[in-house]
C-alpha cells in the first residue's frame, strides 16, 4: 500500500479535508489505544463500540445512497433498521412467536426481502411525485412500522420485545463455538494493569468481524456504483431531475433502485444489531435513530461514502463519549442527557461554517482506469470546496 511505501507522497496527494480527517482519526485512535492499554477502556466494551460504530456506518451508507446520491429524503431510516432487526429476530430467536430457532442466515435473507418489499411499496406511489412526498410518506411509514411492532403482539411480542436471539454465527461449523473454545488470556501491556480476555471478548470480536464484513462489502458496492454511469445518473437526478429526463433517463426507475439499495443496507444494519444486542424491542425503532443517521450523513458530507463512514463513527463517538463526561466531577450538571443538544449545536456550527460536510466527494467520479492522468490536485480535477450553498 502506498501509505506504507511512500507516506509523504500519499500525504501530499490528499486534499486538505482528507488530511484533516486522517489526522483526526490517527489522534483518536491514539487516544483509544491509551485507554485500552491503561485499562480505562475494557476491551470487550471497546469491541461493542466498534460494532455499534459499524452499525451506524451501515445506516449512513444506506441513507447516503438515497439522499447523498439521488437526493431522496427518507425519514424512515429507523423503520428499515427495525425491519432488519425484527426480521432476523423473529426468524432466529427462541422466544419468537412466529418462526424461531432458524439459522440467523435465514433471518438475514428474510429481513432483506421484507425490507426490499417495503421499500417498493412506499416507493411505487411516491417516487413519481415531487421529492417532498417521499419525505412525508416515509415520516408516516416510520411510525406505522413502530406501532405495528408495538401492537401486533401475536407476531412480535409487542413491548416485551424478542429475547433469545442467537449470535450471528449460530449453526456455522467452527465459528459458532469459537468464543467458548478460545482460552482465557491475561495480558499485562503496562506494569500494573492486567487485561483478561475471556469468552465475551471472543464473542465480541466475532461480532466485529461480522460488521466489518458487512461494512466492507457495502462500501465496495457503493464505491463502484458511485463512480459508474449509474451513479452519475443518480447525481444528475439530485441536481436536476428534469435534465436527466430530457437526456432520456428513466428517472423513476433509477430513483427506485437507489431507494431499494439504501433500504437494504439499512436493514443489514438492523440484522447486525439484533445479533449484537441479542434482544430487540420496539424502543429500537424510535425516530431518534433516523435523526442520528441524518446527522451522520450531513456531517460526513452528503454524497460521500467515506464521509458517511466517518459520520457514523463520529455519531457513536458522541453518543457513547458523552457517557464518560459524567466522570468529571467538576462539571456541575448531568451531561449525558444533553447529548441531543450537543449534536444539535454541532449541526448548527457545521451548517454555518462547512455546509458541505467534513468530507464531501473529493475527486472526479469516473469509472476507474478510464482516466489515466486523473487530475487530483485541487486546481484541476478536484472540485474546490464550495463557499456556502450546495451540500454535496
Amino acid at each position: 500500500m502506498r501509505v506504507l511505501s511512500d507516506p509523504k507522497g500519499y500525504w501530499a496527494d490528499l486534499t486538505r479535508s482528507e488530511q484533516g480527517v486522517v489526522a483526526f482519526i490517527v489522534a483518536f485512535a491514539g487516544l483509544l489505544l491509551v485507554g485500552l492499554l491503561t485499562g480505562a477502556l475494557a476491551p470487550t466494551y471497546f469491541l461493542y463500540l466498534v460494532g455499534l460504530a459499524g452499525m451506524y456506518a451501515l445506516l449512513s451508507f444506506g441513507l447516503n445512497s438515497q439522499w447523498g446520491f439521488t437526493g431522496l429524503i427518507n425519514f424512515s431510516v429507523a423503520a428499515f433498521f427495525g425491519i432488519g432487526a425484527y426480521g432476523t429476530a423473529l426468524m432466529s430467536a427462541s422466544s419468537s412467536p412466529i418462526a424461531g430457532d432458524l439459522l440467523p442466515i435465514v433471518g438475514l435473507v428474510v429481513a432483506l426481502v421484507v425490507a426490499a418489499l417495503l421499500a417498493l411499496a412506499i416507493g411505487i406511489p411516491t417516487l413519481r411525485l415531487r421529492a417532498d412526498y417521499l419525505a412525508i410518506a416515509s415520516l408516516g411509514l416510520a411510525e406505522v412500522v413502530r406501532l405495528v411492532v408495538l401492537n401486533e403482539r401475536q407476531f412480535t411480542n409487542g413491548s416485551a420485545g424478542v429475547r433469545g436471539i442467537p449470535p450471528f454465527f449460530e449453526g456455522f461449523p467452527v465459528l459458532a463455538d469459537l468464543p467458548q473454545m478460545m482460552p482465557g488470556l491475561a495480558i499485562r501491556p503496562l506494569p500494573g494493569t492486567t487485561i483478561v480476555l475471556e469468552t465475551p471478548f471472543w464473542g465480541a470480536l466475532l461480532n466485529v468481524v461480522v460488521v466489518l464484513g458487512f461494512v466492507g462489502v457495502s462500501y465496495a458496492v457503493l464505491r463502484r456504483a458511485h463512480r459508474s454511469p449509474w451513479g452519475r445518473v443518480l447525481r444528475t437526478i439530485r441536481s436536476d431531475e428534469d435534465l436527466a429526463r430530457a437526456l432520456g433517463k428513466n428517472t423513476y426507475g433509477f430513483k427506485m433502485q437507489s431507494f431499494v439499495l439504501g433500504s437494504l443496507i439499512m436493514a443489514l444494519a438492523g440484522v447486525f444489531y439484533a445479533h449484537l444486542n441479542l434482544f430487540v424491542s420496539p424502543g429500537d425503532l424510535d425516530p431518534v435513530t433516523t435523526f442520528y443517521v441524518w446527522v451522520a450523513v450531513i456531517l460526513g458530507g452528503s454524497g460521500s461514502n467515506r464521509g458517511a463512514l466517518f459520520g457514523g463513527f463520529v455519531i457513536v463517538g458522541i453518543r457513547e463519549g458523552t457517557r464518560f463526561l459524567n466522570e468529571f466531577a467538576w462539571i456541575p450538571i448531568d451531561v449525558a442527557p444533553l447529548r441531543l443538544l450537543l449534536i444539535g449545536v454541532l449541526i448548527v456550527v457545521l451548517m454555518r461554517y462547512r455546509p458541505q460536510g467534513v468530507l464531501p466527494p473529493q475527486r472526479e467520479l469516473i469509472w476507474p482506469k478510464v482516466v489515466d492522468e486523473a487530475p487530483d490536485r485541487p486546481d484541476s480535477g478536484v472540485r474546490e470546496a464550495k463557499v456556502g450553498g450546495g451540500d454535496d
Partner: protein, 276 residues
C-alpha cells in the same frame, strides 16, 4: 364544447397556417392543445419539421413556445392532438421514451450539475450506457469500462470541436453562462439526437459566444442533426433558421422563409399587439 371552442376548432381545421407539404418529416405536431385552467396555452397548434432543417420557432412573449416544447418533449401531457417523431406517435409518452425515438431537448436556463466537472457532466449525455444498469457494474465491469472510455473520448472530442476542451476538468458550476449553454449543446449531441429542440440557446450569451454558438449549430446541422429552436433574438434566428414558424396565442400564425416572416403584416401585428 362551447361555441367559442367550436369556432376555434373550425378555424384550425380549415385554415392550417403551417406548410404541410414536406417530404421527410421528423416531427409532426397535429392539432395540439393544452390549457392551464382558463388559460389556453396551446390552441390547436399544427406544424411539421422537415429532416435536415434548422427550423425556427418565434412568437411574442406568452405565445406558448415553451409550453409547446414541453408538450412535444413529454414534460406536459397534452389535452388533445398528437405528436409524431419519426413517424411514431409519442403523444403522452414519458420524456425518456421520447428521447429513445431520437428527440432531445435543452432548457432555457442552463441546468447546473452540482459537484461534477464539465466532462463528468458531459458523460451524462450518452444514451443506453451499459454502465447505467446496476447489475452490469458487477457482472460486466469490462463492458462498462470500455463504453465509459469510448464515451469519455467522444466527450473530449466534442468539447474540442466546441473549442471548450480547456474547461473539461473545471467544476461544471463554475463556468460562465455562455459556456454552460455550449456545454449543454455539446452534451445533448452526445445523446445522438435526430431532432434537437433548443430553448433560447442564445439568451444571456455574449455576442462573440453567440456567433460561435450559431456556427456550431450550423456545423452540426450539416452533419445531419435537425434543429428546432425557440429564440427571441431575431437577428440570431433569421440568420440561422429556415423555415421560421410564427406562433401567436397558442397557435401557428404562419410559416415561411425569414424574408417572408419579416415582411408579413400579421407577424408585425402580433409582435406589436395590434391584432385583435
Amino acid at each position: 364544447m362551447t361555441d367559442a371552442d367550436a369556432t376555434a376548432a373550425d378555424a384550425a381545421a380549415t385554415d392550417v397556417a403551417a406548410d404541410q407539404s414536406k417530404d421527410d418529416v421528423v416531427l409532426r405536431v397535429e392539432d395540439l392543445q393544452k390549457s392551464f385552467g382558463a388559460l389556453t396555452a396551446t390552441d390547436h397548434a399544427t406544424f411539421e419539421v422537415e429532416r435536415g432543417t434548422i427550423t425556427g420557432l418565434i412568437g411574442p412573449n406568452g405565445a406558448g413556445k415553451s409550453t409547446l416544447f414541453n408538450l412535444v418533449s413529454g414534460f406536459y401531457e397534452p389535452d388533445g392532438g398528437r405528436v409524431e417523431v419519426n413517424g411514431t406517435e409519442v403523444t403522452g409518452m414519458e420524456p425518456y421514451e421520447i428521447a429513445d425515438h431520437g428527440l432531445i431537448r435543452t432548457f432555457q436556463t442552463p441546468r447546473k450539475l452540482e459537484g461534477m466537472t464539465v466532462r463528468e457532466a458531459m458523460l451524462v449525455g450518452p444514451r443506453k450506457q451499459p454502465g447505467e444498469s446496476f447489475l452490469n457494474l458487477f457482472f460486466r465491469p469490462g463492458d462498462v469500462g470500455e463504453h465509459e472510455a469510448a464515451n469519455l473520448a467522444d466527450a473530449e472530442r466534442i468539447l474540442e470541436e466546441f473549442e471548450i476542451d480547456h474547461l473539461a476538468t473545471q467544476p461544471a458550476t463554475k463556468i460562465s453562462g455562455g459556456q454552460m449553454k455550449l456545454v449543454e449543446l455539446a452534451r445533448a449531441m452526445l445523446a445522438e439526437p435526430e431532432l434537437l429542440l433548443l430553448d433560447e440557446p442564445a439568451a444571456g450569451v455574449n455576442p462573440t459566444l453567440r456567433n460561435k454558438l450559431a456556427e456550431q449549430i450550423r456545423r452540426l446541422n450539416e452533419q445531419g442533426t435537425t434543429f428546432l429552436l425557440i429564440e427571441h433574438d431575431m437577428d440570431f434566428v433569421m440568420k440561422l433558421a429556415d423555415p421560421v414558424i410564427v406562433l401567436d396565442q397558442g397557435s401557428v400564425l404562419m410559416e415561411g422563409t425569414p424574408q417572408e416572416v419579416q415582411t408579413d403584416e400579421r407577424v408585425i401585428d402580433a409582435y406589436l399587439g395590434g391584432s385583435p
